[in-house]
Assembly symmetry: C2
Homo-oligomer: 337 residues x 2
């Protein structure tokens, strides 16, 4: 029998099947009243909570390459990066919508591997597939909308940073960009044991840290580092109407070790401008948190600078020489993969 | 001064500016606590209500053509067709997320015209822009997520149709497909006074009818007609575990008049398989609604057939000859624009 081309309904069935078990888990909690298969999904909001809404493109050729990025990593990352915006507000993910366009030739094995990675992320992040839209396209196009919740009034915005607040980041910066370079050079993760490649392919949004900072009312402003420190800190400063100074000495704590990347200047550049880390960038009063590197449940947290008065400028303090720090992170309108 | 290429931030500013006035209106009602410009948007759900979540692709080359479809119609339609899924459940739209990818060369006039059409739809449908994501791409890619609400337990699903229910449709079927043909032949709406072109470019989701059918608990099952009656009715029947019979005599009431389309058989084919009408397809007990054409606030409502017992088959009654009615509506995996 000749192989029939896939139909929209047959692809939807495959996606629905993959979502089924996690859907049952969630249904038991009574929050998702209706999942895949109708005109829309139905979600029952938690009383006293606000709904956090965010969506993210994940496009072949712009954000990943079909020949270089394994399909299960595409599945993991399309959800994880959208959930990172939720971590950045202190919220808890509930469910997501998947919009997927793909060539009919990928509706078999590629789609199954993609759905496996997506399901792993969905379980890990406790964010279940509630619906979506599929269509045909020559390139793989993905858009993910995440619906999350937070107790009313508790969300941490970008706009709350005040003069004198310390600027913190979680984790190590530039790891994911280094991983991308390895992937582009063809070093695919045979056993997934390269930490840089792993961070690039399977980022883990800092949900627990974000929630803690929001619940304890510690962070005055917060966002996730998706485009790079120099670009994202400029956005936080603009939103808060403040400036910031990043200190070179402090950056040492968040740079990738020299062994991975032999030129020390290069580690600094990666920390300042490398994208895709999905770490948290936040500000807090110096009275609330240590002013030297510490750990939150084994995740390094490092002060890297300070919020300054209203100039909205971000500067870089290079051993006492103050230089402007221009946004040189990822901008899809300036560079592509 | 040389013209600078657009940046992601400059495009976001343009979108945010266009959303601003409607955002202020909504903020006054206290439902959208935070709009464009942060990591995510914050929405305050109405107590006692469920949240309806739906998303829709609208892609250049698949769903519209840059050379044929005016940008303000692209803006109107990308929101209107997503809101149509909300009408199909009986809900009320609240806000939406816009994911937009476009070539830098369209970030000027095209984007402004697009946003004008989007804003018109946003006002008309009372659904405000809450956030989104932008990136660069050679083709225009759009994805819209609509967040809506309905009193808990009141949503009309696809799965409630029962044997003996009458099958109803709103409006006239096939008008939008006829309009598409005119547009493809180059007959652009100089003064927008061709009703078929208007229905293709600026569809109006049947929100008021949907809400009425849900509130009064009249419809047993409902969905919107986006792909064509033959495809969509088959989905409703599968979801409800029933069959349906469409009667040729009844279809006359929903066919486009012969004057627009001189072959009578062609009008019937358009009514059965034409896509993009965004009318409502619903079922109801014969005791609840008239069994002959009637009007809901000047919108024609027509019975076109009846729900039959559990075979899940849709058949077509051609003056007493019963034929299977296969789904021949729009399927992106079978045909493109």
């Amino acid at each position: 029998m000749p192989k029939l081309p896939p139909s929209e309904d047959s692809i939807l069935r495959k996606i629905a099947q993959s979502a089924r078990s996690s859907l049952l888990d969630q249904k038991r909690t009574g929050r998702l009243s209706l999942g895949i298969g109708d005109d829309a999904a139905l979600f029952r909001p938690k009383p006293g909570h606000e709904t956090i809404l965010t969506c993210d493109w994940f496009l072949e050729g712009t954000h990943f390459l079909r020949a270089k990025h394994p399909p299960d990593a595409v599945g993991w990352k399309c959800l994880a990066r959208a959930v990172s915006d939720v971590a950045a507000m202190g919220g808890t993910p509930r469910c997501f919508l998947l919009s997927l366009a793909l060539p009919p030739s990928l509706a078999g094995q590629w789609l199954e591997d993609f759905l496996r990675g997506l399901k792993r992320a969905s379980r890990k992040l406790q964010c279940i597939l509630a619906g979506g839209d599929t269509t045909q396209r020559d390139k793989i196009l993905i858009n993910v909308t995440v619906v999350s919740e937070i107790r009313a009034g508790q969300a941490v915005l970008r706009s709350g940073a005040r003069e004198g607040d310390v600027v913190y980041v979680s984790g190590i910066l530039g790891e994911a960009e280094l991983g991308l370079k390895f992937v582009l050079r063809g070093r695919l993760p045979v056993r997934g044991n390269d930490p840089y490649i792993r961070k690039h392919l399977y980022p883990e949004p800092r949900l627990e840290l974000g929630r803690w900072l929001a619940e304890k009312k510690i962070a005055t402003a917060m966002m996730d580092l998706s485009d790079g420190l120099s670009s994202d800190l400029a956005r936080l400063c603009t939103a808060s109407g403040v400036g910031a100074r990043i200190d070179r000495e402090s950056l040492a704590a968040v740079c990738v070790p020299l062994i991975a990347n032999r030129k020390p200047e290069r580690s600094l550049q990666l920390a300042l401008h490398g994208g895709d880390d999905y770490e948290l960038l936040f500000t807090a009063s110096p009275r609330k948190l240590p002013n030297s590197p510490w750990q939150f449940k084994s995740l390094p947290i490092s002060p890297v600078g300070v919020i300054t008065s209203g100039s909205k400028k971000v500067v870089y303090n290079n051993h006492g020489r103050i230089l402007p720090l221009s946004p040189h992170g990822w901008d899809p309108f300036k560079k592509e993969l």
